[in-house]
């Protein structure tokens, strides 16, 4: 079968599901109140984007992007400072193991107490969780750097700075790119959860608003927008990843 036929098949499955969802609502209107329906969600989406929906999208997106950028930069600096020293690395590793096991998004209430209700808490929260995610990844990356490379580099007379530039930074960079996709997804999720618990704007705030007013359509619509943003960011990053890591794949 051709690719076009598969595409058509995929589309018809999608259409079938949407129709089934709509039919449930028509069959038992009471269920449509809880489960909502495609019609209601589309209506909700239209209403959102007519009103201040773009503003909410922008709030979540900018919180996530800013937090992700700052958190990643901090993690890179911390890795370069801490990880090239073996003693420090051994000192830190049990703390890293614990940090890695922590359910990150569940720490949001702490940040809300520190920074109050609103965008500042969300931003600080995203910075913190992204810092830990990326730092843990880079830290493990440094720990798995082939000892052979290091010994060879030293045997060739490489000084500390030279080894940092020629061995550590390239391998850390590869790990950084690999963890970027997770980081972006987590940043968007973290921003949304912070807004959900105690926000004044953003997609997470819309989810909370929908919950409080018992409006399923609003919850679904806001989550859908968030999903689309995440998928879009994912596809952009995989493209970047493919370009930047082309040297690795070709080896």
């Amino acid at each position: 079968m051709t690719a076009l036929a598969w595409r058509l098949g995929q589309l018809s499955i999608f259409a079938l599901m949407v129709v089934a969802w709509e039919l449930i609502g028509l069959w038992r209107p009471i269920l449509a109140v809880e489960l909502s329906s495609p019609g209601l969600v589309i209506q909700e989406l239209r209403g959102m984007l007519d009103l201040d929906g773009w503003n909410h999208v922008w709030v979540t997106l900018s919180t996530a992007a800013f937090g992700c950028a700052v958190g990643t930069a901090m993690a890179c600096i911390a890795t370069l400072v801490l990880a090239s020293n073996r003693l420090l690395r051994n000192f830190l590793s049990p703390f890293i193991v614990i940090l890695n096991a922590v359910p990150r998004v569940a720490l949001a209430p702490l940040f809300i107490l520190w920074f109050g209700i609103g965008i500042r808490a969300g931003t600080a929260f995203v910075i913190a969780i992204i810092f830990f995610l990326v730092f843990v990844n880079l830290f493990t990356g440094v720990q798995t750097i082939d000892r052979l490379y290091l010994m060879n580099a030293r045997a060739l007379g490489g000084g500390k700075l030279w080894i940092l530039r020629e061995v550590y930074i390239p391998s850390v960079l590869a790990w950084l790119i690999a963890s970027l996709r997770n980081a972006v997804a987590l940043a968007l999720l973290g921003a949304a959860v912070a807004e959900l618990i105690a926000g004044t704007a953003g997609l997470g705030f819309l989810i909370a608003q929908g919950t409080n007013s018992g409006n399923s359509a609003e919850v679904i619509a806001a989550a859908l927008i968030l999903a689309l943003v995440t998928l879009l960011a994912n596809s952009v990053i995989s493209r970047v990843e493919r370009n930047l890591l082309a040297w690795q794949l070709s080896q």
Binding site: P103, L107, L110
Partner: protein
């Protein structure tokens, strides 16, 4: 010998660092340099933890969260493995449903728990369903790709010996799926625990997520710290238990 000494020094340094942090925190609060309203205090955090331990609050709430995660995880693994097998074994089904699963994998599933409370109310069931929803798609994707990556030689041998789809499922895919479940358990269980805690943030009346949010709503930082420490402790204990279980269950496998 010097390596051993180094290790002892490092462990001592780690303990010292923790004690020093607690001490600095305490000093900051007692001297009034930083208001304990903002950062809490180690003493009240400890007192809260101790009270919770003594009156059973801690264990009861941790138990609720672990139970939600465990039930949700089990259901998610069973249903996810079944669906994953189906779409992995029937190639057309895999291709047709691929965009569908890509969508759900990109969907912010951890932030979707309010929906389940709208449908099922502020109930234990709603939180379990939320856990299932979070890990189901992980399991499906992973099982499907596992099925596709089963050793080709093994497959052609067993087909040559006259095995049909049913024998393949019983003799190859199901036994392999047990290995996939075990090797990914640390990841999926962590997700399940995460989902359970988040689901307790809205309208729950028990669980460690509930304790965290209660502390936040009472503006009691020490209480949030106590809850966060409980969360971390539960997560680390579960993780360690899984590592042990994994080692035990895969002890037959060649290294």
């Amino acid at each position: 010998v010097s390596a051993r000494i180094e290790r002892i020094v490092i462990v001592a340094g780690q303990l010292l660092a923790v004690v020093a942090m607690l001490f600095i925190w305490h000093a900051l609060v007692t001297t009034g340099t930083v208001n304990s309203f903002h950062i809490g205090s180690p003493v009240t955090t400890w007192e809260t933890l101790w009270t919770w331990l003594a009156d059973g609050t801690l264990l009861a709430n941790a138990w609720v969260t672990v139970l939600e995660a465990a039930i949700g995880w089990t259901v998610g693994i069973l249903v996810g493995t079944a669906i994953g097998m189906a779409i992995g074994m029937f190639r057309p089904l895999g291709i047709l449903t691929e965009p569908f699963f890509t969508f759900w994998n990109g969907f912010p599933r951890l932030a979707f728990f309010p929906f389940f409370t709208l449908v099922l109310g502020f109930t234990f069931t709603a939180r379990v369903v939320s856990v299932v929803f979070v890990i189901l798609f992980l399991v499906i994707t992973q099982t499907a790709s596992g099925v596709r990556q089963v050793d080709r030689v093994l497959l052609s041998n067993i087909k040559f010996l006259g095995a049909g789809r049913l024998e393949l499922l019983r003799e190859v895919y199901l036994p392999s799926s047990v290995t996939w479940v075990i090797t990914s358990a640390r990841f999926t269980v962590a997700f399940a625990l995460h989902a359970a805690i988040l689901a307790e943030f809205i309208g729950a009346s028990s669980g460690i997520g509930y304790l965290t949010i209660l502390g936040q709503q009472r503006f009691n930082v020490s209480m949030v710290w106590a809850a966060v420490i409980t969360v971390v402790a539960v997560a680390v204990i579960v993780d360690l238990a899984l590592v042990q279980a994994q080692r035990y269950l895969t002890r037959w496998a060649p290294v």
